[in-house]
Amino acid sequence: MMAANTEDFVIVGAQSSDANEHIAKPALSFWQDAWRRLKLNKLAVISMWFLIFIMAFAVVSNILVPQKAANSFNSDKVGVYKNLPPNSGLPIPGWDGKIKAPGDNSATDVYASQGVPDGKKFILGTDNIGRSVAKRVIVGLRISLLVAIVATLIDLLIGVAYGVFSGWKGGWIDNVMQRIIEILSSIPNLIIVTMLGLLLGSGVLSIILAIAMTGWLSMARQVRNMTLSLKERDYVLAAKSLGESSTKIAIKHLIPNMAGTIIVQVMMTVPNAIMFEAVLSAINLGVKPPTASLGSLIADAQAMLQFYPYQILIPAVMLVLISLAFILLGDGLRDAFDPRASED
C-alpha cells in the first residue's frame, strides 16, 4: 500500500456539471476565426495587402493611364525617345538615366546623347519605339489581371460544379464525365486557342475563353476526387438520413470541406493563367499589339535582353511578385479556413 501525504492534498469537491462542460475559449464566428488565424501568417497578410493594392491600383489607373496613352508614340521622334533607361532624377546608380552599354567602360547619359529635352524623365525608361515602360506596365498589369481573374472565376464555376456533380452521381455518369475530361485534356491547349482565335478573332475575350476552357479540367478532377471521398463521410450520411437534398449537401457539406483544395487550386490557376497569357502573347496568339500585357511586354523585350535588361526586368518582376503573392496568400487562406488547423 502506498501511503499518500494526505496533508498535501486539498479536497475541492465535485464541480457542477455545468462547469465541467465549460469551454474557456471565446466563441468566434467563422470569419472572425479565419481572419484571426490568417493574421498569424505574416507572409500571407503582406501578400494580401500587396494584391489588394495592386488590384485597387489596376482599377484606379484606368482613369490616370488610359490604354491610348500607353500605346501612342510620336513617330517623328522615335530616335530621341527610344530605349531610354530608367531615370528617377536622383543620383542613384542604375536609376539616373545612365546605362553602360556592353563593351563600354563607363556609363553614358543616354538622355543627353539622344537629345531628350531637359526636365523630361521616364521613371522606368522607354521601349524601343519610345513609349513609357511605366505606362505600358500599368496597362499590361491591368490586362493580365483581368484575363487571369475572369478566367479563374469561370474555371471555378465550371470546375467545381462539374467535379461535384460527377463525383456525387458516381456510377456510369461519373464514368462518362471523366472520359470527357480525359478527351478534352488530350487536346493540346494551343490548338484550342488557335481555333478560338479563328472563331472570335484574337483579343482579350478569346484568351479568357481559351484559358477558362482548358483550365477547369484539373479543378474538376480534384473536386471530383474530394467529392468521392467526402460523400462517404458520416456527416454526409447523417445529412442524407435527415432528408437533405443533394444540392444542399453539396453547398453545406461538400464544398466547405474542400475549400482548402479549391482555394489552393485557384491560387495556382491565377499565376498559371497569367503565364499562359504571356506565352500566348509571345507567339502572337494573345493580345494584339499595341495592347500591352505583362506577357507581351516580356516577349517584346526579349530580343534586346542584353542591351536593355530593364525592359524585360520590370514586367518580369511584376509577374513574379503577383504570382508569388497569390501562392502565399492561397497557402495562408487554406490554413485559415481550416478550424482544426488552429494551434491553440
Binding site: Y235, L237, A239, S241, L242, K252, N257, P339
Partner: protein, 311 residues
C-alpha cells in the same frame, strides 16, 4: 418491452442486400434477414466486424437500396419510398453514428449541425424559435447553451456524441438506429452516453435499434438481442435468453469471448471456438422458434439438438 400485444414498429421481411451482384466479387452483406422491432423496445444487434450490422441499419434508413425483401415501418412499406413520402419517413427514423469525430461536419457550428433537421423539415417559425429549439436540445443532452456557437473540434468525444444525439432528436423521431454509438468512446464516457440514451428513451418513448459488438453493453441496454454473422441473422431472443441460454454455437463462442473483470474467473475462462460448418455446409436453414420468442437459424434436426442440449 410492454407485455400484451406489442405493436410492431419496424419489420424486416426476407431482406437481402448484395454488393456487386452477379460478379465474382459478390458480397452478401445482408442475406435473407427477417426480424421485427416492437414499439418502445431496444433491439440489440451484435456480431463481429463485417457481419452486416451497420449495413442493416443503413438499409432501414434507405441509405442503401436493398436487393430484395421489404422493410415495413408502422405497417407501411417503406422499401421504395421516394420524394416527400421518404422525407416524412426520415422524420420518424434517425441515426446516431459510430464515430462522433466523423459524423459532425467540422466546418459547421454546433447550432447549425443540430438545426439541420429543423431547417430541412421547416420545424422552426423564426430564427429565435430555431435558436430556442437548439438550446432545448443541447439542454436535453446535457450540454450548455453557449456551446451552440462552437465548432465540433472543440469538444471531447463524449460531448460530440451527445451533439450527434441532439441532431438525431431534433426532428422528434420515433425510431433511432444507434450504430455502435459507444465503440469510439473511451470506457469512462461510454456509460455516460448509454445512460443518456436510456433516459431519452424513457422520456421520449423512443425505439432503438442498438448496433454493437460489445455484448455486455448490449445486454445492459437491450430488451431483445439479434446475433449476426456473415450477413445472416443466427439467433434472436430476449436479452436474458440469448445471454444466459445461448442456442447457436456462434452465440456461445461470442459469449465465451467476453472478458470477466475478476482475475480468478478470467484465468479459468475458456474460449469456445466456432465451427463455421454450421453455416457453410449448404443445408437449408430457417429461423426456428426453440423456446417462446427465442429463434435460431437451424435445420429441424439441429434445432432439436439445441433444444435437447438446454435441458
Amino acid at each position: 418491452m410492454t407485455e400484451g400485444t406489442p405493436k410492431k414498429l419496424v419489420e424486416l421481411k426476407d431482406l437481402q442486400l448484395y454488393f456487386n451482384k452477379g460478379k465474382s466479387n459478390e458480397v452478401r452483406a445482408i442475406d435473407h434477414v427477417s426480424f421485427d422491432i416492437y414499439e418502445g423496445e431496444v433491439f440489440g444487434l451484435v456480431g463481429e466486424s463485417g457481419s452486416g450490422k451497420t449495413t442493416i441499419g443503413r438499409t432501414i434508413l434507405k441509405l442503401y437500396e436493398p436487393t430484395a425483401g421489404d422493410i415495413l415501418f408502422e405497417g407501411k412499406d417503406v422499401t421504395h419510398l421516394k420524394g416527400r413520402r421518404l422525407s416524412e419517413f426520415r422524420k420518424n427514423a434517425q441515426m446516431i453514428f459510430q464515430d462522433p469525430q466523423a459524423s459532425l461536419n467540422g466546418r459547421m457550428k454546433v447550432r447549425d449541425i443540430i438545426a439541420e433537421g429543423i431547417d430541412i423539415n421547416k420545424l422552426a417559425e423564426s430564427k429565435a424559435d430555431r435558436n430556442q429549439k437548439v438550446q432545448q436540445l443541447l439542454d436535453l443532452v446535457g450540454l450548455n447553451k453557449d456551446h451552440a456557437t462552437r465548432y465540433p473540434h472543440e469538444f471531447s468525444g463524449g460531448q460530440r456524441q451527445r451533439i450527434g444525439i441532439a441532431r438525431a432528436l431534433a426532428v422528434d423521431p420515433k425510431f433511432i438506429i444507434a450504430d455502435e454509438p459507444i465503440s469510439a468512446l473511451d470506457v469512462s464516457i461510454q456509460a455516460q452516453v448509454v445512460n443518456l440514451m436510456k433516459e431519452l428513451q424513457q422520456r421520449h418513448s423512443l425505439t432503438y435499434l442498438f448496433i454493437a459488438h460489445d455484448l455486455s453493453m448490449v445486454k445492459y441496454i437491450s430488451d431483445r438481442i439479434g446475433v449476426m454473422h456473415w450477413g445472416k441473422l443466427l439467433e434472436i431472443g430476449s436479452a436474458d435468453a440469448v445471454y444466459n441460454h445461448p442456442l447457436h454455437p456462434y452465440t456461445k463462442s461470442l459469449l465465451s469471448a467476453i472478458p470477466v473483470p475478476d482475475p480468478e474467473v478470467e484465468k479459468a475462462r475458456q474460449h469456445v471456438d466456432y465451427d463455421t460448418s454450421v453455416e457453410t455446409d449448404g443445408k437449408k436453414r430457417d429461423m426456428i422458434e426453440v423456446n417462446p420468442g427465442h429463434f435460431v437459424l437451424a435445420t429441424p434436426e439441429e434445432a432439436a439438438t439445441y433444444k435437447a442440449a438446454q435441458r
